[in-house]
């Protein structure tokens, strides 16, 4: 009797738990149309999220927002899309990183017909610069709306430069000279910090590559072993080996940013959007001393990267595509783009940048560097291909080796091996030629 009671109570407890779990897990089905917006932890999301109630009121469409760190976002989307059963309606995407991959697998809804038929003229697709439109188009299919631009920027310590009577460098030679002069390991200050971690460094290395006249891929073949590229590897490696911080080969942008923000670097070159972490007095002890300059010119000229890092897309497996498109139109319209730029996000729309009121709010130097980088900017900061992560790792190996040996190691051989690896990847994806 007692045993039966004991067992019964356990059963009841179990049943209760399961019922509770199932019930609380599935909410009541909402009558209003609902879309699922999956975003990255990014200033765009930070700006849009609080404005969503406005959208919901205007259109009656409910928006559920999820946000993830960019690598987890990629992982989650990949798992969901691979299963073919994803319910994602709107999502943020990186054209240069996963654009080709997702496109190839038909995970983007093609936006061409939406732009033609379901877009009010006032929204104006032509307000986006041609280069940004091209960045989100593959084989004539537009798969995303660009939401930001980003370019290679040089951040420098105004106080240290003033002390040493230096002007911000405009050429690679001046860059090395400045780094040498300001490199002060005893005071804990390194001349310059750049990303040195395997795959992450490739995007920052790209401007050096272009500055020496090199390129990642040309006519379907990887050019990372060309004489210009070898020069670039040696330059990057020598610079960081001599004037970079200890442990630079494990640094991606968070580490480099933290180092500069704590006053331990005289210069830092990285993506323009990262300025947020060094001009906020709550985050940076050098907030008042940050100077912004255009990335210097190499022997082949000034060729910093200027890219569309993020776009916003409609999921091909979505059941609410019309509503999803409406949301995208709203999130990227003139009004919201202006709000975004005012909060520091460098949006893609031309008209927003022409608005004086807005541009004057930007941090001094940032607007100018954008304008100067514009005409000479290279629209990609990594090899444009599908298997881009694997290619980045291969090229990153060469960069790490160059840094570790100060540019004196067997760079030619390693670059050749990396180039062959990338060639293979290109061929596999149908993007190369034999």
């Amino acid at each position: 009797m007692a045993k039966a009671n004991g067992r019964r109570s356990i059963c009841i407890l179990l049943a209760f738990i399961f019922t509770l779990a199932i019930m609380t897990g599935l909410g009541p089905v909402s009558a209003a149309e609902t879309i699922r917006f999956v975003a990255a932890n990014h200033p765009f999301h930070d700006v849009i999220r609080p404005l969503i109630p406005e959208f919901e009121k205007e259109t009656g469409i409910r928006v559920i927002v999820e946000n993830y760190e960019e690598n987890q976002l990629n992982q989650k989307l990949t798992v969901e899309f691979t299963s073919g059963l994803s319910t994602v309606d709107v999502f943020m995407t990186r054209p240069l990183q996963e654009g080709r991959l997702f496109f190839k697998n038909n995970w983007y809804e093609s936006l061409n017909s939406y732009l033609d038929a379901q877009t009010p003229a006032v929204w104006n697709w032509d307000d986006f610069p041609e280069s940004t439109k091209q960045a989100v188009t593959i084989d004539g299919q537009i798969y995303a709306v660009p939401i930001a631009t980003e370019w290679h920027t040089l951040f420098y310590r105004k106080d240290l430069f003033a002390e040493a009577n230096l002007q911000p460098p405009t050429t690679f030679d001046e860059l090395v000279a400045a780094a040498e002069k300001l490199h002060n390991p005893d005071a804990g200050i390194c001349g310059i910090v750049l990303r040195g971690q395997r795959g992450a460094a490739v995007t920052q290395f790209s401007s050096c590559l272009y500055g020496f006249g090199g390129d990642f891929i040309q006519d379907g073949k990887c050019m990372i072993d060309s004489p210009e590229a070898i020069e670039a590897f040696k330059f990057y490696g020598k610079l960081l080996h001599a004037y970079g911080p200890p442990g630079v080969t494990n640094m991606s942008w968070p580490q480099a940013q933290a180092l500069f923000a704590s006053g331990n670097a005289a210069m830092w070159a990285d993506a323009s959007v990262l300025i947020a972490g060094i001009i906020d007095p709550d985050k940076s002890v050098v907030a008042d001393e940050v100077g912004v300059a255009v990335f210097p010119a190499g022997p082949a000229g000034r060729r910093p990267y200027m890219v569309v890092p993020w776009g916003i897309s409609v999921g091909a497996q979505s059941q609410n595509k019309a509503a999803a498109w409406e949301f995208i139109l709203w999130a990227t319209n003139h009004v919201n783009s202006k709000k975004a730029l005012l909060s520091g996000l460098t949006v893609a729309r031309n008209s927003t940048w022409e608005d004086r009121e807005v541009v004057s709010e930007l941090y001094p130097g940032l607007g100018e560097s954008s304008i100067e980088s514009g005409p000479v900017g290279v629209p990609y900061d990594r090899p444009v291909m599908t298997a881009v992560t694997e290619a980045r790792d291969a090229i990153g190996e060469v960069i790490v080796h160059a840094i570790e040996t100060g540019g004196t190691g067997d760079i030619e051989r390693m670059a050749r091996e990396a180039a062959r690896k990338v060639d293979r990847l290109l061929v596999q994806a149908g993007e190369g030629r034999e």
């Binding site: 045993k3 609380t24 897990g25 798992v79 968070p254 923000a261 959007v273 709550d282 985050k283």
Partner: protein, 280 residues
């Protein structure tokens, strides 16, 4: 003579004790220090966190905690993590304890190894198949899917810790109960379980922790409604900056309940150790 020897011994005892306590403190410092650092960092502004030399004196601020609770749904994450961890642990105990007992008593080694196999597969292998499976039966973004996935982590842990514990329980106990007229189930419920306190508490503590801190399964199997705490911490690792203050505050929020639970259970573990009904 005797008095001198006694005094000498007392002195020796005193220094021995002092040495012992110093040793304990030295051992403790490296274990505690990182946690102390995380907790204090949660109250600093970011510039203070990355400062070198480290800032021991600083003006504390609660802005990080405010940010964590208000800008992100940390209240919801807390609830979700709790529901999943409690349910996964409870259900695993209910089906795992009898299994462990049987494997121990009847030496069903093959079953034991089979249970352990669940821990051998790397987490990644489960992601796509489970997503497909749970989507098809419409259980994505429900607690059930999360609980089931966490159980796969927690159940083998409980079973194996308890197998070992039950191995140490003398069989005479069960046999004497049966002589008194109980069948095996009763003997298990009324005699064996009550004295298995320490083992069960260890297993429960560890299993709760494993579920509480699980990241990979929760990332894939949950959406906004059932998101758990460890995913929440990554909310502050964003595209353009790592908000260290908020990361630390989030870490404190995640760790705190686990600490409180350990503290609570630990008192029972002590009790179980001193009661020692098994011995003698």
């Amino acid at each position: 003579m005797k008095m001198q020897m006694k005094a000498g011994k007392r002195q020796k005892d005193f220094w021995f004790n002092v040495g012992w306590y110093i040793l304990i403190i030295l051992v403790m410092i490296p274990f505690i220090f990182p946690l102390v650092w995380i907790i204090t960092s949660a109250f600093k502004i970011q510039a203070d966190i990355t400062a070198i030399p480290p800032k021991w004196l600083f003006t504390p601020t609660v802005v990080n905690f405010k940010r964590v609770f208000m800008e992100q749904d940390f209240g919801r994450f807390l609830w979700n993590s709790t529901v999943v961890a409690v349910a996964a642990t409870l259900v695993s105990l209910v089906i795992g304890l009898p299994a462990a007992y049987s494997i121990s008593r009847y030496k069903q080694n093959f079953l034991g190894i089979f249970v352990l196999t669940a821990r051998l597969m790397p987490g990644i292998s489960f992601l796509v198949p489970w997503y497909i499976l749970f989507s098809k039966i419409k259980l994505i973004d429900t607690y059930t899917a999360l609980i089931a996935s966490h159980m796969l982590v927690v159940l083998p842990l409980i079973v194996w810790i308890m197998i070992n514990y039950f191995d140490g329980v003398p069989q005479e106990l069960e046999e004497s109960a049966r002589v008194d007229g109980c069948n095996i189930q009763n003997a298990f419920l009324r005699i064996i379980l009550p004295i298995s306190g320490p083992g069960i508490l260890t297993a429960t503590t560890l299993s709760f922790l494993f579920s509480w801190n699980n990241f990979m399964f929760s990332l894939v199997l949950s959406t906004y409604r059932t998101k758990t705490l460890p995913i929440g911490i990554y909310n502050f690792v964003s595209y353009a900056e790592v908000n260290w203050g908020s990361v630390m505050a989030a870490a404190v929020i995640i760790i705190a309940p686990a600490i409180i639970l350990t503290m609570f259970f630990q008192r029972y573990i002590i009790k179980g150790l001193t009661v020692g009904a098994v011995k003698g």
